[in-house]
């Protein structure tokens, strides 16, 4: 009886706090995406269109680690039995991916374009033993600066 109560409390805590954290994070992500939407980040290997001559390029990266809450973990465990999409993890990875790209952009606010954007994900702990899983998303790319901008922003 006691362990059932503890389980239900953990589940409720996981759900409530997970939901609150997720809502707050999404609001922050959306606001920052709007601010940074004018900085292009593409998976192209060359600048788009007729870009001015490039003064310099720089490797930039952004990464984030987000932990799974108890509710999501239980949901994923149950899904393991039946198969199907693990919807509980979709928002987790969506947030992590967008946050990583945002951090990448925030690391080079004066760049003109980010080329060759790559996104990778890995799990830091696979949820064995202590059963706490968290996901890392790493975004990296090449930030390029046009020549006329280079006079204002000297090479680091």
């Amino acid at each position: 009886m006691e362990s059932l109560t503890i389980f239900l409390i953990l589940l409720a805590l996981g759900f409530v706090f997970g939901k609150l954290a997720e809502g707050r994070h999404y609001r922050s992500v959306q606001a920052r995406e709007e601010m940074l939407v004018r900085l292009p980040a593409t998976s192209c290997k060359k600048p788009m269109g007729n870009s001015p001559p490039i003064s310099h390029a720089q490797l930039v990266h952004g990464h984030v680690v987000i932990s799974v809450d108890y509710f999501k973990q239980i949901m994923a465990g149950l899904r393991n039995l039946f198969g199907g999409t693990i919807q509980a993890y979709e928002t987790l990875l969506d947030r992590a991916r967008r946050e990583a790209v945002l951090r990448l952009k925030e690391s080079c606010p004066t760049a003109n374009e980010i080329l060759n954007l790559r996104i990778e994900t890995s799990s830091i702990s696979k949820g064995g033993g202590d059963r706490i899983g968290c996901v890392e998303v790493l975004a990296y790319g090449t930030a390029i600066y046009y020549q006329q901008a280079s006079s204002q922003h000297p090479r680091p």
Partner: protein, 270 residues
Amino acid sequence: MNYQPSLPEHNDNVSHQRPVREFFVLITGVLVFVFIGYWVLGLFVDVAVDYLSSEQEAKLFSKVAINWDFGEELMPEEQAKLQGLVDAFKPCLSLPYPITVSLVKSEVVNAMAVPGGKMVVFSGLLESVSSTNGLMFILAHELGHFKNRDHLRLMGRGIVLSILAMLAFGGDSGISDILVSTINLRTAKYSQSRESQADHTALRTLHCHFGHVGGATELFETLKSQEEGFDFEMLHYFSTHPELQQRIDDLHQLAQELGFPVQETKDLVF
């Protein structure tokens, strides 16, 4: 090719369904699977227990030593006395293997039949009965469990449940433990019918030993008067023993049907 700064209107990468609903659908599915599995395999356990003879059981448990740990045996004198009382039933209730009594210091008012011919008595029981007859009825009741093979049924079902929980949730998961502790409440009904069967065996044994059935309901009467002190309905639900009054009535009725007399009881000296 020019860059158009814009954000997607819709997030297509996440499902917009209610997670709580999904959770209840999934957990219901798992529980239905476990309950049906437990019920069906429980029937198999009953068949297997009926198939296994007492001699085979004795042989099996003489080879497999199970180390049950209920607590320390701190009262060797009292334990020896209890062993004597249990042994005194031999002419009335024969079992193909010897029963070893283990007296454990604990406030719990209970006794248990454990596979391998071990009877665990908690010392709280000795303080709750005042007559030898009352105590011997409880000992006979546990012997009745051995006779009716209830200890094997209980163990078999425990194994079945652990396996099912492990299949469903994985061995090291906390959910398995929770499921095992929750589902045990459900066995209450099953075990109630076994309890009253053991009561019947105990009543016959008591009559055979003393020539009367005085003191048979002593412990139940005591527990009942204690329970009336704090009326807590939930206790009945969680109790694996049939409601006390029902048990007392049942015993009185059986004693009347079989014509067992009720006489003075002997005081318990410990």
